[in-house]
Amino acid sequence: MMDTSIRKAMVIGAGSMGSGIAAQFANGRVPVILLDVTADAARAGVERQLKAQGFMDPSAAALVETGSIKDDLPRASEADWIVEAIVEDLAVKRDLYAKLEPVRRPGTAVSSNTSTIPLAWLVDGRSDAFKRDFTITHFFNPPRHMRLMELVAGPATAPEIAATVRACAERVLGKTVVDCRDTPAFIANRLGCYWMSVAALEAQRLGLTVEQADAVAGAPFGIPRTGVFGLLDLVGVDLIPLVWTSLLGALPATDGHHAFDLTQDTLVQRLIAEGRIGRKAKGGFYRMVPGTKVREAVDLATGDYRPQQEAKANRDLRALIAQDDDLGRYAWSLLSHTIAYTAEVAAEISSDVAAIDTAMQLGYGWARGPFALADAVGCALIADRLAAEGRPVPALLARAAADGGFHRRGPAGREARLTTGAWAPVRRPPGVLDLADVKEGASPLAGNASASLWDIGDGVACLEFHTRMNAVDHGIIEMVETVAKGLPAGFRALVIYNDDPRAFSAGANLKFFVDRFDAGDIAALEAFVVRGQQAFRALKYAPFPVVGAPAGLALGGGCEVLLHCDAVQAHAEAYLGLVELKVGIIPGWRGTTEMLLRAATRDDRPAGPTKAATAAFEVIAGATVTASALHARALGFLRAGDGVTMNRDRLLGDAKAKALSLVDGYAPPDPGAVVLPGPSGRASLMNLVQGWQRAGAMTAHDAAVADWLARACTGADADPLVPVTEDDLAALERDALFALIRAPATQARIRHMMDTGKPLRN
């Protein structure tokens, strides 16, 4: 279980943030009491999260109790952490704290999700005991998916309270916690709002179009393609007077942000006056022409809509800022202002530059934080050009420019500057194991172009895939064969893991299929099927424990790898699926077989000869991709002994611990067998298929593939009295694959998927 002392939480305020935070507690399996002014409003918050998929599985909503502040605030005594997420109004918050103080248990954490109000003001007038227990925990929207949590501890906050909140936020809520000082808008919004102000105002001053500005501010900076105007549409132009006014009002008069006051921009004011406030109003800086699919954008000079214009910018930021044109000047202005401002205020808002970079990466989706960006472009280049233009060079930037940037690799590992300018090692929280750290300065134990084996310590090896989207190809199969024969001397367990932000593995390498179709070489594909089956079988029966650790997509062959591990330690945001039907085949590397073995043990299905067949068939024929690890457990991809890690940074460490826990007394699993219904079960499944086809949910070729799947899932001519062995089932998978890869409709599907990335519904 997770190491936390938070056994129950209370969230007060069931708006989108409060209900989202409550849902994330439930996702982390912590019971939570959610209060709002009325119990109905609290229940509506739960409903909103169900609709918005704030819950990783609808079943998690059962962990949320709802109530009203008036009636149920005394239940605060049950909670180990009370999160306040009510309206951003100091008086209302203070009033709530005054009511909360006598009913909560002293020594339990209380925090506010405020994004603008200083901690010192919030706790003014409260007892010392309350101040000891109080922090600001600033989550980002939506709380399930945004990994950043900014933590502000006040001068009176007890270190053990801050530690408890941090541990729970990291492990249970899966957040990366960045320590902030008690300054306006903390780190991410302080810098993010400045960046948006500069980007929006400089685009107008320099005469760029909306599209050009977003093209420059997006990809070249490693910033999401919404750029600046797209982002303003997303968050809502109407927030500018609210958030920016409050921020600017709180900043000292000397702060550089005052030079770019977005609230005074006449275009922004006009858009708000006309209700053109962004996506929630069906139009802001961009819009779809009502009733059509035509996109328009605002002409920054006139404020009127005109058809969208294509804009491109050089993705090489160094080259872009050197361009002697509007785009180049804009890129330089945005870069130089952002870097200079960040360097200027860094020491005020944080103790180290790595924290600031992390906050911008996780809070704003930047590929690199501002300091890493400066390193990439060249700190000296930026500082020199600022100086040449007669602009001040902040001391921190000058120091970085003179001496090796903001981040470096020192003799003891990675280092980043403190905001004082001194170097300090980049610390990983205990239990966090980073594969990139392992790989730096090490060579793999074994490997090829597709996969490598790394030493992650304590006798555990890590098999890393590194093909495009980690598609399973011959190289990966070869490495699976190699490790299954035996780990290098001294190793006792294996973890299969990689750092790809999108996919543990998106499936089998379809390019190989297309190449062999082109060559008319079906035999090579048959051999690939057989070889994969043998490799995965060997992995399952290898004489050491194997733990699969997926994050992101694990589809098709990538999912089948996991099904052959002794245990899976999944990131909460793992999306598993046997989606082979979409390319006209069935899981053929023993994945159908493994799903049948798992389905036979499900306890949410009625007993009887069709149990395993129906449960596995529905998941595979539906090409279901799970919405989370929790959902994967519900659908039978994960077993009782498999674990879920909420925090992406902790996945490898947790998987390694799981692998080590299996070492003592390890014995490979016994070969499985499963009761299957045979031909009458197939008739029944095909009646389902016929219904789906009639209703338009399946095409003719879907049905043809489903027939092969039904044959495998029901054990072909099996008799329910005689369990079917897994090797016999693997043979049925091969029958299906050998037939289907010859089918023109399947070949068309595979080609179409390769060409377009989308399934062909033929």
């Binding site: 008739a683 016929q690 009639r694």
Partner: protein
Amino acid sequence: MKDAYIAGYVRSPFTFARKGALAGMRPDDLGAAVIRALLQRTGVPADRIEDVIWGCAFPEGEQGLNIGRTVGMLAGLPVTVAGATINRWCGSSIQAVQMAQGMIATNAGDAFICGGTECMSRVPMMGFNVLPNPAWTRGQVEDYISVGITAERVAERYGITRADQDAFGASSQAKALAAQRDGRLAAEIVPIAHAGAVVEHDGCVRETSPEKLATLKPAFLAGGTVTAGTSSPTTDGATALLVCGKGFADANGLTPMARVRSFAVSGCEAGVMGLGPIEACRKALSRAGLTMADIDLVEMNEAFAAQAIACCRELGIPDEKLNIDGGAIALGHPLGATGGRLVGKAAQLLKRTGGRHAIATQCIGGGMGIAMVLEAA
């Protein structure tokens, strides 16, 4: 030969499967509850009952173990009262009444509790493990199991449009809603205590209109005409009737509502099972020496609007005689319990309206029809 009379009729509220108020209740407990209420309302001595004849379309799991026996035991009937489960799918509990009639006629007992239970929340339609004979073609399996497709086929064969069906569905809802609001359903409904609450009203009845129903998507066939709004919903419910001879009624001070006049079952193509009532009604009417013109009230199960419309056209059933307190599209269709509702309702309506003859009829999956003619007692 002795005649058989309908001398008592009660039912549970009918509520949506899975999301309704009775979803959490076991089918045997629900059956026992309506039997207790029937005995209470009729006041007959339980030890004089010969047998419990109980319809159930998918008698397995909680509905298994010969539910005809278990409902009697749970209701507190003396152990001397026997119990049998009858399965003719949707026609099960009309068949149960007919079995009692046959036993009375052949002097094999004087008083019977007939009825049925189906908790479609707890035992799915077609059962937990669907295993049709693999020798059947896929078409045969579909005809037998996929009743929604059979309704589409009937609609196509009879040229019954989407608008026809939506109008029929809306009319069924309107009749049921009016009956509910006027308290005309209360006479038959037994409040059921479950999970700390008392369920008193049918849960499927909705205020709707043909226009609203026209917005629903086809439920079974892309481009088809049958929707959730023109199909009977999956439902939880139970019904119980007291069926007895004249002597028994007199001896116990009962006033029978109706006499069983005739009965028939028939078969048809499974793929158009919804047409089953046509031949069954013709046979039953002929055996009674009557024609549809002699019938004052028709209680026909509305498995689907399409099949009900087709049957009405073929049999010449005018709207004003059909399901005057609403049909299964509005009230719900707990498979094994529905037949008992139709017979009980028809008997009750004869009493209420002063009509002379009524007919209760159903289509049955697999291609069958069942019909029973009643005469006011």
